[in-house]
C-alpha cells in the first residue's frame, strides 16, 4: 500500500526529497519529513533559555521589580523638579522687568492663547475660569507677583493647574505680563465678578 502511494504520487516531488516522502496521503496531500532546520532549533533554544533565565532572575533572584525601577527613576526627576521649584517659586521683580522689556506682552499673548484661553476666554473675559478684566479677585490680588504665584502653583480647588509643571520659567513670566494688561479693562460680555473686590 505504502509503496504504491510513493510510486504513484502525482505531486511535484523533487529528486532530492524523494526519500523523505512519507507513506500516507490525505485527499492526495502527502508529507515530506524534512528534519527541523538547525537555525530554528537553535533560535528556539535560545528563546527558551532566555525565558527561563529572565523569569528566574526577576521572580526568584531579587531582580528589581518594575516598581523598584520606576521609583528610582522617578525620584531623580522629582529632585530636579523640586530644585526648579525652589529656585523659581518666588516672584523675581528684576527678572519680570527684563521679560516685559523684551516683548514679554506679545510673547505672553501666544502663551495665553495656547494654554489659558480655553478657561479664561478671549481678552481674559472669563468663562470656566474667572474674569480677569474686572476688579474682583479670587486668589491673586491684582499684582504681577500674586498672579505669578497662582500661575506657578495653581489652585486645586478652583481647577487651575500648576503651570510650573507645564510651562518654562520665561513662559510663565510672559503670561503674567500679558494677563496684567487685562486689569480693570472690564471687557464687554465678561463673566460675573467672583471673589473679593481689590481697589488700588
Amino acid at each position: 500500500m505504502s509503496d504504491s502511494i510513493k510510486k504513484e504520487t502525482k505531486l511535484d516531488v523533487k529528486p532530492d526529497e524523494q526519500h523523505l516522502l512519507l507513506d500516507h496521503a490525505y485527499d492526495d496531500i502527502q508529507e515530506l519529513n524534512h528534519p527541523l532546520p538547525s537555525w530554528w532549533n537553535v533560535t528556539w533554544g535560545i528563546t527558551i533559555v532566555f525565558a527561563i533565565g529572565y523569569f528566574v532572575y526577576y521572580q526568584f533572584m531579587k531582580g528589581p521589580t518594575l516598581r523598584d525601577e520606576f521609583n528610582q527613576e522617578y525620584s531623580k526627576i522629582v529632585a530636579i523638579q523640586e530644585e526648579f521649584r525652589i529656585q523659581n517659586s518666588a516672584f523675581n521683580q528684576e527678572y519680570y522687568a527684563g521679560i516685559t522689556s523684551n516683548d514679554g506682552v506679545t510673547k505672553g499673548a501666544v502663551v495665553y492663547e495656547n494654554n489659558c484661553l480655553p478657561c479664561h476666554n478671549e481678552n481674559g473675559k472669563g468663562d470656566i475660569g474667572p474674569n480677569l478684566t474686572d476688579d474682583h479677585w479670587l486668589i491673586a490680588k491684582s499684582t504681577p507677583e500674586t498672579i505669578y504665584n497662582v500661575v506657578f502653583n495653581g489652585s486645586e480647588e478652583n481647577g487651575m493647574p500648576a503651570w510650573a509643571e507645564l510651562l518654562t520659567k520665561d513662559e510663565i513670566y510672559q503670561a503674567v505680563a500679558y494677563v496684567s494688561t487685562f486689569k480693570n479693562t472690564f471687557v464687554k460680555g465678561g463673566k460675573e465678578p467672583q471673589g473679593i473686590k481689590i481697589e488700588d
Binding site: 511535484d12 485527499d27 530554528w40 526648579f84
Partner: protein, 728 residues
Amino acid sequence: MSSPNGSVPASNRRLETFTYDDQIVKWFVIATVIWGAVALLLGVTVAFQLADWRVNLGLPWTTFGRLRPLHTNAAIFAFCGNAIFAGIYYSHQRLLKARLFNDILSRVHFWGWQFIIILAAITLPLGMTTGKEYAELEWPIDILITLIWVVFAVNFFGTIVRRRERHIYVAIWFYIATIITVAVLHIVNSVELPVTLTKSYSLYSGVQDALVQWWYGHNAVAFFLTTPFLGLMYYFVPKAANRPVYSYRLSIIHFWSLVFIYIWAGPHHLLYTTLPEWAQTLGMVFSVALWMPSWGGMINGLMTLRGVWDKVRTEPGLRFMATSLTFYGMSTFEGPLLSIKSVNSIAHFTDWIPGHVHSGTIGWNYMLIAGILFYLVPKLWNTELYSKRLANIQFWLATVGLLFYVISMLVAGITQSLMWRAMDDAGRLIYPNFIETVIKIVPMYWVRAIGGTLVLISFILMIINLYRTAKKGKSGPEAVYEAYALDDYSLEAGAAAHRKLEGWPMIFAVLSLIAILVGSAIEIVPSLMSDNYITKISAIKPYSPLELYGRDVYIREGCYLCHSQTVRAIPHEVIRYGKASEAAEFVYDHPFQWGSKRTGPDLARVGKKYPHMWHYKHFYDPREVTAGSIMPNYKWLFDKKIDYSTLPKKMAVMKQLGVPYTDDEVVTSVVNAKAQAVEIAGELAQSGVPQKIVEMEVVALISYMQRLGVDYTSMPEEEAPVAEADVK
C-alpha cells in the same frame, strides 16, 4: 511494506459510496465575501473618522465608539469566521472521506451564525455592549454564540466519528484546537450577570477582569485568527501548489508548542499595569518563546512552495498564499518583540499596535482567504478563474494599501510615544498638552485611511472576479466518491506514538484541551482564589448611583476605545497624568475599563482636574476647550434623559457581584442619583447652563468623570501604602 493486517481477506472490506456537502461551503463562501466587504468598509469609515472628526456625522450610531466594535467584530467573527467555516467544511470532508455529519446541523450552523452577525450589526451601533474588546456582544448573543458553536462542534466531531480515513491530518489538528479553545475562551470571558435583556455586568472586576479579558483577547487572535488559518494553510497550500508538505516532524513540534505556549501570552497586553508582576513576566517570556513555534507554520508553508516559485508568479491563489505566509512571519516576529517590557512601554497605547494587528489581519487573514477563495471558487463552481489580471491588480492594491497602513502606524506610534516621554532638563514634559502629540500624527491617520481604502478596493475587485467566475460556472451532476469503510486495514503495527495518536481523534482533542488549560489555570486561578491577589485600600469606595449610570454611558459610547484608565508606573506617565494606578482602585469596576489605546489621554486621574463646565463644553464640542481635538461631539447626551428606572436593578446586580452597597443604598439609589444631578446642574447653572440639563445623561457622565481616581489621590498620604490583608 504491505498492510500489517494482510490476514484479513480483502473481500471483507466494505467499499462505500458517498458525496460531499459542497452547498454549505458555497453558502459560507458567499457570506465570507459579503461580510468581508462590510468589515473593510467599516474599517475605512473609522479610519477616516480618526483623520477627520466630522466623519462621525454627529449621530450616536455612526460615531467611532460604536462603529469600531462593529468593525472588529465584523472582521474577526463575520469575515474570518465565515471563511474558517467554508474552508473547514470543504477540507474536513475530503480529509476524512466523509460527508459532513448532518446537513441540518450544517444549515443551523450557517443561519445561526449569520443571525448572530445581524444581531451584532444592530445592537453594537445602538450602544449595547459589555465594554470588553472583541467580546462586546451582550449576554443573549453570547448564549447564542455558545449554542451555534456547539452545533459546529457536534457537526465537526460527528464527521470525525463517521470518517473513512483512520488518521487525522495536521489541518484537522488545528481545527480541533480551535474549536475547543474558542469554546473555553468565550465561555470563561463572557460570564456576566444580566441587568436587562441588553445590559449585563462582567462577573470579574478590575485586575481580574483585565487578566481574563486579555487572556481571551490575545487568544482570540491565537485561536480564531491563527490556528484555524494554519489548518486551512495546511490543506490549501499543498493543494494549490501540488506539492508535498515540507516537514511532518515540524508540523508535530510546532502544533503542540504553539497550542501550549500561545495561551500563556495574554498578560503581555498588561505590562506595567497593576497585574501582579509574575503574571506579566510569564506573559512576556512565553511570548518570546512563541516566536519559533509560530515560524514553524511559516516555514512549513513557504518551504512547501520549494521549486514552484514560478507558479507563485503566475497563479494568483498561490501568490496570495505566499504573501500571507510572509506577513504571518513578520507579525509573529513583531509580536514577541512588542511583548518585551521595555519595547512595550514605548509601543503600548500607540498606533503601532493597530499597525501590528493589521499586518496580521490584512496581511495574513485577508491574503490567505483570498488565496483560498481563488482555489475554492473555481473548484466549487466547476470552472476557471474569471481573470488573473484582475487578481493581480487586486494583489498589488492590497499589498500597497497594507504597507501604507503598517508604515504610517509605525511612524505615528513611535513619533507620538517619543513626544509623550520627551522631557526637558527641569523635569518637565516638552509636550504637556496631549493634543500637541495628536495633531502631529493626524497626517499619518490620513495615510492609513488611504491605505485602508486601497485594501477595500482590492476586496471589491476580488468580489467581482469571484462573481464572474461563479457565473460562468456550470453545475454538473454531483460527484460521487468511493472509499472503504474504516476497518482494521488501516491499522499500522508499530507506528510511532504520534502517528497512533492521529488515529485517536477524541484523545487528541482531550490532549489539546489539557495543553491549553495548563497555562490558563496557572495564570487565572490565583486571581480567583486568593484574597491577597491584590492589596486592598479602604479609601476606595464604590461609585454613587449617578456615577454608576455615567459609567454605563461611558461604556455605551465606547470611550474605552480611545481612552485608557490606568496610569502605568513609568515616570513620564506619572508626570503627565498623576500617581501610578494601584490594583485596589479597580475592585468595583465590573467590567474594567483600562482600554488598550490612547487616541486621547488617560482618564484614570481626570476626576476634579477640570470644573464641571469644562466637561460640559467638552462633551458638546471638544474643540471648544481643546483646539485641534479629534474627539467626536456627543451632543445627544444633552437631550437624552437619564433613565432612572433600571438604576436600582443595576445597583442590586453590582451588590450581587460583591460591591458593598447596602440594601438601603439600592432602595434609595434613584433619590440619591437625582440629588447628585441637582448638585452638578446647580454648579453648571452658575455659568448660565439652563436648568433642564439636570435630567440629561451628560450630567451622569460628568459625575463619573469627576470621580475617576479621586478616592486614591485625595486619600491622606499615610494611608496610602498600607496593606489591609484581611479586608472582607
